[in-house]
């Protein structure tokens, strides 16, 4: 009787089934959230249904994002001040690492990412092929990126990333990523705001981590980072390189 109780208390003992694939026990979803009370519930419901380990980092939202998350079986961390998505992801990764995560998946709180892409994302890491897997919207056949965004923001960004990091990718700034344990342990993001995406690529190139891109299906319900925010990323990168 006692042994049965102990087994049920050991959380996530039974791997969840995702498509044809089992979600390994120490896979953690790290979700940075800012004012996503309206959308995060649906995202968490899906993740909890597959018994995933989830940590949500509420970046000091003005709405009740944290309260919504408390209704689901996940860990909730709340920043006392708004620091930015990069900082939130780093906090989440620190937490996941402390929980013994062997794979960390960066996942969005707004429902734009699809769980069906997860097996393709973590497969290369599970098979010890690479240490970082980067999702790419542009490898995906069905990508819904608006034409203007692609040509005026995305293509220049890809070449700029290539110049800054040495990595030529098909998608410069997709937030859907999976990191192996070694990558998470090396990762110490100093860029608090949106420039963290470039910093992750620098992490890969500076530490000679193996990486791979896989197609992912991002369902846009809003424009995302506009041109002006892209300029702010450049500004942040520029000033960080000065010192």
């Amino acid at each position: 009787m006692i042994r049965v109780v102990l087994i049920t208390l050991e959380y996530n003992r039974f791997p969840a089934i995702l498509g044809d694939m089992e979600l390994p026990k120490n896979t953690w979803f790290v979700i940075a959230a800012y004012n996503e009370a309206a959308r995060i519930g649906a995202v968490l419901a899906e993740l909890v249904a597959i018994e995933a380990n989830v940590v949500v980092i509420d970046d000091c939202s003005a709405d009740n994002t944290s309260e919504v998350c408390l209704n689901y079986k996940c860990a909730v961390i709340r920043h006392p001040i708004n620091l930015g998505q990069g900082a939130a992801l780093q906090t989440g990764m620190d937490f996941a690492r402390s929980k013994g995560a062997s794979i960390v998946i960066h996942f969005d709180a707004d429902g734009q990412m699809q769980l069906k892409d997860v097996p393709a994302l973590i497969d290369p890491i599970l098979n010890n092929e690479v240490q970082v897997v980067l999702g790419s919207r542009y490898l995906h056949v069905n990508n819904q990126v608006p034409w203007s965004k692609r040509w005026f923001i995305h293509f220049p960004a890809v070449y700029l990333q290539w110049f800054l990091t040495g990595l030529k990718l098909s998608d410069a700034h997709c937030g859907f990523r999976a990191l192996s344990r070694e990558a998470v342990e090396i990762c110490q993001l100093r860029q608090n705001r949106m420039a963290h995406a470039t910093e992750i690529l620098e992490l890969i190139s500076n530490n000679h981590l193996t990486y791979q891109e896989v197609p992912v299906d991002i369902r846009y319900n809003q424009y995302g980072q506009g041109f002006r925010k892209g300029l702010i990323v450049l500004k942040d990168l520029f000033f960080s390189k000065l010192t």
């Binding site: 049920t8 208390l9 959380y11 996530n12 380990n53 989830v54 980092i57 944290s66 309260e67 408390l70 209704n71 689901y72 079986k73 996940c74 860990a75 909730v76 961390i77 709340r78 920043h79 006392p80 001040i81 620091l83 900082a87 780093q90 906090t91 620190d94 937490f95 100093r190 608090n192 000033f239 960080s240 000065l242 010192t243």
Partner: protein, 132 residues
């Protein structure tokens, strides 16, 4: 004396007063503000007698005394801005670290609950939380 010189001297006098006030209010010691007083006095001298800078400029091979002053000012400005930039970035890192420590010490971890019968933690109930 030209109008420009008078206006500049007034500004210099105001700056010296600000600095001296700090000593009077005991927010700084004389030693700390000495360098600023010297700086402003040199500025005042150069404003009253711009020819002084001309002699130095000729020695260094720069055309005008004013140019020399501008070059020095720009270089000093860049040095100060660099210092400020690095300090600001360091502060931001420290602030992030502090906020992260606070956040991580107040985690609400519901992943350990295995069945629906156990009540989930709420912000008010858990002993881990800061009271809002």
């Amino acid at each position: 004396m030209s109008i420009a010189q008078i206006i500049l001297l007034i500004l210099v006098a105001y700056s010296i007063i600000l600095v001296v006030r700090r000593v009077v209010k005991k927010q700084s010691s004389i030693r700390e503000i000495l360098i600023w007083i010297i700086f402003w006095l040199v500025g005042a001298i150069l404003i009253i007698k711009p020819d002084f800078s001309q002699r130095f400029a000729s020695m260094l091979g720069i055309g005008r005394g004013v140019d020399l002053i501008i070059y020095i000012a720009i270089i000093l400005s860049f040095m100060m801005q660099y210092e400020l930039l690095t300090r600001q970035q360091n502060l931001e890192q420290l602030l992030t670290k502090l906020a992260r420590e606070i956040a991580l010490s107040n985690v609400i971890d519901n992943t350990k609950n295995t069945d629906g019968s156990k009540p989930l933690d709420t912000l008010g109930a858990s002993s881990n939380n800061i009271k809002k």
